[in-house]
Each structure stands twice: as C-alpha cells, then as structure tokens.
C-alpha cells in the first residue's frame, strides 16, 4: 500500500508534461521512435486543455485544505474555526479615561451625559452623579477604535452641558486609552491556536485566562502565574492591544478596577486568592541587521529590489562606534538633525528612513546637504522628519537608517510581531517559578523577549531578505519585577532601525 507523505498538487505545466510523458513513452513503446508531443502538436494542445481543466481542482483542493487548518485559514474560514471553539473575532473596543471637570461650581452630571471630540465621536460619562470642579470624571467612548484614544489635554465638548459646566472639557492625566480597532486575523489566530493548545476546563490556567479575556474586548490576552503568591493564589496578568500610535500594552486602571478585576472575582471560587494586574511597559530600542540585494548603483552592481542606494547610509559598525545611525539632536521642524555615523552621506543621493513612533509610520527622505564630521554629521533632508524631536523626547535613541525598496514591509512585519508579544516572568525564584512560570510558556507562544521569532517575521516578509540579526537591543528579555506582587514587565518597541549586516 502506498504511503502518501505529502499533500501533493500539480501545476498546470506539471499535469501537461506528465500527460505528454505518458503519451510519448507509450508511442515509443509502440514503435514511434520520436513521437511529436512538442508545443503546437495535437497532443500538446489536448494536454494543455486537460491541464487547464484539472488545475482548478488542485488549486481548490489546496485552498480548502488550507481553510481546514487553524494556522492557514483566513476570512470566514478562520471565523468558522473560531466559532467551533467558542471564540469570535473581536470588534473594535472603546477608549476610556478621565476628563478634568471644568465647572464654576459643583454640579450633577446626569445619566446619559455625553461629550464629543473633534471627529464627532461620542463619549459617555461612566458614573453619573455630583462632581466638584477639578474632579476627574471617567468617560468611555461609545464606539470602538484606536481613533477614540486621546492624549491628556485634548478637548472634548459636551453635547448638552450640565449646569455650571464649561462647554469644553480637557482630557485628564493618562489620557483616554484602550481604544483599538477590530482585531486583525493574526491576533485572532493566535488566540485560536492558544485555545487548541491549552484547552480550558476545571478551573485550570487556560480557563482563568479565558475568563479574563472574556471580561472585556479591551483585553487582548491574559496570562496566568499559578501559586505565585503562595498556595491557593493565582496571578492573572492582562495586556491590551498595541495601536498604530501607541505600543503600550497596559490596560487602563479604570478598566482594570471597573471591569476585569470584578469579572474575575465573580467567576473564580473564593478559596483562590486572585490578584489581577496589567503589565509595566518597558521601551526597547532595536537595530535589526538585514542582508538584502545590493542596489544597481552599488559597486559591483547588484540586482536591485533591496537597498536603494549603492552605499547604504548610515551603517551600523560591529566595532565600538556605537550606535551608528542614532540621532543626537534635531533642529525645529525636523529638516536638520545630527546623526552619529562613521561615514559621510552623499548629498542629493543618500536616501534614509525614520520610523516615526508618534504616528507609527515609516518616513522617507533624501539627504540634500550635510556638514560635520565622524560621529556628528549634521544632515539636512528634503522631507523633514516632523516628529523627530518628539521621538527624541521619548528617550532612548531614535535612528535614521538606509532606505530599501520594501522597507515598509520590514517595518510592518517587525511591529506586527511585537504586537503579539507577552509579558515576562514574575519571579526568578526557582522554587516559586516551578509553578508560577507564565502560562502559556514564553517559549510556546506570545514571546516575551526580542528574540529570533521576531526576526523570522522580517525574513518571511520578502523573498529578497536572505539574513537577519539583531545589531543592538537596549533590552533583550524583560527583567522580573522588584516584587512578586508587582506587574510583570512587557517589552514594547520604541525606536527601531534596519541596517545592512556588514
């Protein structure tokens, strides 16, 4: 009996050629020494027609096979697989946070009071009642989406002002956070695979995680640390979604106190002490090394499709000149800035990139002039990096790095991969860790470290990427918190750059 080890399908050409091979061999066997089965022959036309009819069967079979697998299903097929295990793709979630009440006197905010922002997005007051001027009033967006997030100091406007209140109100410290767009397929898939790998039941850790994730769509993923605080205790850690403009994974304190914690307290038996926290964000600056095809302008000339310039600039040296490519100062407007590089750019030739962490986008520009010397080149670009100063103010080391044809894809692949990372461990105590390690394991899913799993996403983002490596990571693995009762650390990307591997 034949053993089929591989799900094999044939291309149109393979079907045609196999058919013709059989015909040819059969005719030779029947005495035709050189049968005509080449292009344009009647057999060739017939074989091509047959292959054209059979190919859709193979392709459809492949499509349906992929649709049956949780790691390859997409669209409705993925939703169907989620349904089977009682999961569903998550829609957009609303932001929540405080406004600072600007009023002439104490006032009663009625139930149903609403504010709107500049995009006419509505926000409900969570707890109607009597508030004094300066009090923090918690509001929550009516609709979901990352656009409902607001920084502290943003203005909201009452739809109908309560007595003594000014029409305009300012968002309080911490801002309105937790808004995220509808879950993408890879995040849904990660939850599906997690469910299949770790079936919940009987109050096991997977079930506790399931409860926490069901408490609110703001929670992207929950993690358990059984017996972290001793017998009959369990620590549940929840993370929120990263957004385009905020890589933070923290869930706001109001959501934690008002939704997640009470939800878990209601579903977990009283004889288990449940402590639920979110995470502590730890910013990480990363320089990723790439091996890409050289530019046609390189010497010797390359095939293109990789680095844009013949001599990509700046470069990251493997020696002690560190870090090449980091920006040390910037002039107002972002058109001129100082770069720590070991070589000079070429005016009107060198094209560079900057990952803008404020808006979460890749920015590109061409160097039009420069002054300075090794270690401090003052560069002027044709398209200012408007948020470079703001990026510098975030701390760490913003990078400018060489442009490449598909740099957008590399940046997106890396950032998307970090959005599926989880927190690190709560403790390094081996005795406690025996039970209290993070569930699911950091090595199984939702990695906690900036490790090779992220690089792999970059490698598969383009056929032209032949090698990747980390040239620099400000932090590799999240440290354990100072106390086991503190939130675990969650690594999030801040400044990233992509440089040629020299």
């Amino acid at each position: 009996m034949a053993t089929i080890n591989k799900f094999a399908t044939k291309t149109t050409e393979e079907i045609r050629d196999d058919y013709l091979r059989v015909i040819r061999n059969g005719l030779i066997r029947r005495g035709i020494t050189d049968p005509q089965v080449g292009p344009g022959s009647d057999y060739y036309v017939r074989a091509t027609a047959l292959a054209n009819e059979l190919t859709p069967l193979y392709v459809n079979t492949q499509v349906k096979a992929d649709a049956q697998m949780p790691d390859t299903a997409t669209g409705d097929d993925l939703t169907r697989q989620l349904d089977i295990v009682n999961l569903a793709p998550r829609g957009a979630s609303p932001s929540t946070g405080p406004i600072v009440l600007d009023a002439a006197a104490a006032t009663t905010i009625p139930a149903g009071a609403q504010l709107v922002d500049a995009l006419s997005q509505r926000f409900n007051v969570v707890s109607p009642g009597v508030y004094s001027p300066g009090d923090l009033v918690i509001v929550q967006a009516v609709d979901g989406g990352a656009a409902t997030d607001h920084a502290a100091g943003d203005t909201l406007t009452w739809v109908a002002s309560p007595p003594y209140c000014n029409q305009k109100q300012l968002v309080g410290t911490g801002g309105l956070t937790g808004g995220h767009d509808a879950e993408d397929e890879e995040t849904s898939r990660a939850r599906l695979l997690d469910r299949l790998q770790n079936p919940p039941g009987s109050g096991n850790w997977a079930q506790l995680n399931e409860y926490a994730e069901a408490s609110t769509p703001i929670v992207q993923k929950a993690f358990c640390h059984p017996a972290a605080n001793g017998p009959a205790t369990v620590r549940v850690v929840v993370v929120g979604y990263a957004s385009k403009t905020s890589k933070s994974r923290q869930v706001s304190s109001s959501v934690m106190a008002g939704t997640v914690v009470p939800y878990l307290a209601g579903v977990i038996p009283e004889w288990v002490e449940v402590v639920t926290t979110t995470v502590t964000d730890v910013n990480v600056d990363v320089m990723v090394g790439l091996t890409l095809p050289p530019s046609p302008q390189a010497s010797p000339a390359g095939p293109g499709g990789g680095w844009t310039d013949g001599t990509p600039w700046p470069r990251m040296l493997s020696t002690t000149v560190f870090p090449s490519g980091n920006v040390t100062s910037v002039s107002p407007g972002g058109a001129t800035f100082t770069v720590n590089a070991d070589t000079a750019p070429t005016a009107n030739v060198t094209r560079i990139c900057f990952f803008d962490p404020i808006v979460g986008e890749l920015k590109r520009a061409k160097v039009v002039s420069f002054t300075g010397s090794v270690g401090a080149y003052v560069v002027t670009v044709d398209t200012p990096f408007a948020n470079l100063a703001a990026a510098l103010a975030l701390g760490g080391t913003p990078f400018v790095f060489p442009d490449a044809s598909n740099m957008d894809a590399y940046v997106k692949a890396f950032i998307d991969a970090t959005a599926l990372m989880g927190p690190g461990e709560l403790t390094a105590n081996v005795s406690v860790l025996a039970r209290a390690y993070r569930h699911p394991l950091t090595t199984n899913s939702w990695p906690a470290s900036f490790d090779s799993s992220l690089l792999r996403k970059v490698e598969v983002s383009g056929d032209e990427v032949t090698d990747t490596s980390y040239l620099y990571r400000s932090t590799t693995t999240p440290a354990v918190p100072g106390a086991v009762t503190s939130p675990p650390n969650q690594l999030i990307p801040r400044h990233i750059g992509f440089f040629p591997i020299i």
């Binding site: 005719l27 029947r30 035709i32 344009g40 022959s41 009647d42 057999y43 091509t48």
Partner: protein, 153 residues
C-alpha cells in the same frame, strides 16, 4: 504470488498484490503514411479536420512539421487552450487587399516555427473563390528533410 492485471480474472486476485504486468503491445501500422513510412504524429484530414485511420484501425501518420503547420493555419487564433496559437480570422469582405492580409496572418501564425528553425516559408498563394470565399495554399520547406510541402488554408 498471483499475477495482476492482464493474466488474472478480475476479482480473483487482490488488487495491488500482483506483479505489474503490461498489456500486449499491438504491432501494426501506427502513424504509417500513404507511402508506408512510419511518421511521428497522427494524420489530420485538412478537409474534415478528423484523425485519419488506416484500414486496420490504427492512426495514419504525417510528418511532424506538417502537423505543426496545419494546426497553426487551421486553428482560429486564441480559440484553443494555447493563448496566441493559430491564425487570425482575416474576416471582412474579400477584396484586393485580402490576399495580402491573409499572407500576413499566415506568416504571423507560423512565425515561431520559422524562428525555431523547423520550417522555411516559401509562398502564400490566395485566390478569390466568389465574393466571400478564398482559396489559399501555403508552400513551405521542412528543414529537417529539405522537402517542399504545401498546406491548404
């Protein structure tokens, strides 16, 4: 070990356990042309466009290049499974310019054979046969034999 297909009656031997066997190879006149020469492909009647069989039921043969030419000039371009294969429909009312257009279309349909060194095109003759019909003959040389041949359009 029992034998498989060809020697055991169906149903008496478990399928797949017998030795592989082959049907008897028929001897005969496969691809033999009118001159008794064994050719490399099946003969297609240019008028009926059907395969031609010998008296014993086996396929008659024709030269490889002849079949390649015939299929190209008798197949309407892009009507088969092969994109770009065949001759354009010259179409339209037959006029003084028709002959030239047919010649262009034939040359286009046979261009890959010419470029591939299989044939050399000698002449395309076109005669009007009434107001809406034409009669055409393509003369070409099979470069593998050096023999000049003709194919009806």
């Amino acid at each position: 070990m029992s034998s498989g297909a060809g020697f055991s009656a169906a149903g008496t031997s478990p399928a797949g356990t017998g030795d592989v066997d082959f049907a008897t190879v028929p001897s005969g006149n496969l691809f033999v042309d009118a001159y008794g020469v064994r050719q490399s492909c099946r003969l297609i009647d240019p008028a009926s466009r059907q395969y031609v069989l010998n008296s014993d039921g086996s396929s008659s043969g024709m030269a490889s290049a002849a079949q390649l030419v015939q299929l190209r000039i008798q197949t309407l371009r892009d009507s088969s499974a092969l994109p770009g294969f065949g001759k354009r429909d010259t179409g339209g009312k037959v006029s003084e310019r028709t002959a030239r257009q047919v010649e262009i279309d034939v040359q286009e349909s046979l261009s890959d054979l010419v470029v591939g060194g299989i044939i050399r095109l000698v002449k395309v003759s076109v005669e009007r046969a009434g107001a809406s019909r034409i009669f055409g003959l393509v003369k070409w040389v099979d470069l593998s034999t050096g023999i000049e041949m003709g194919s009806e359009i």
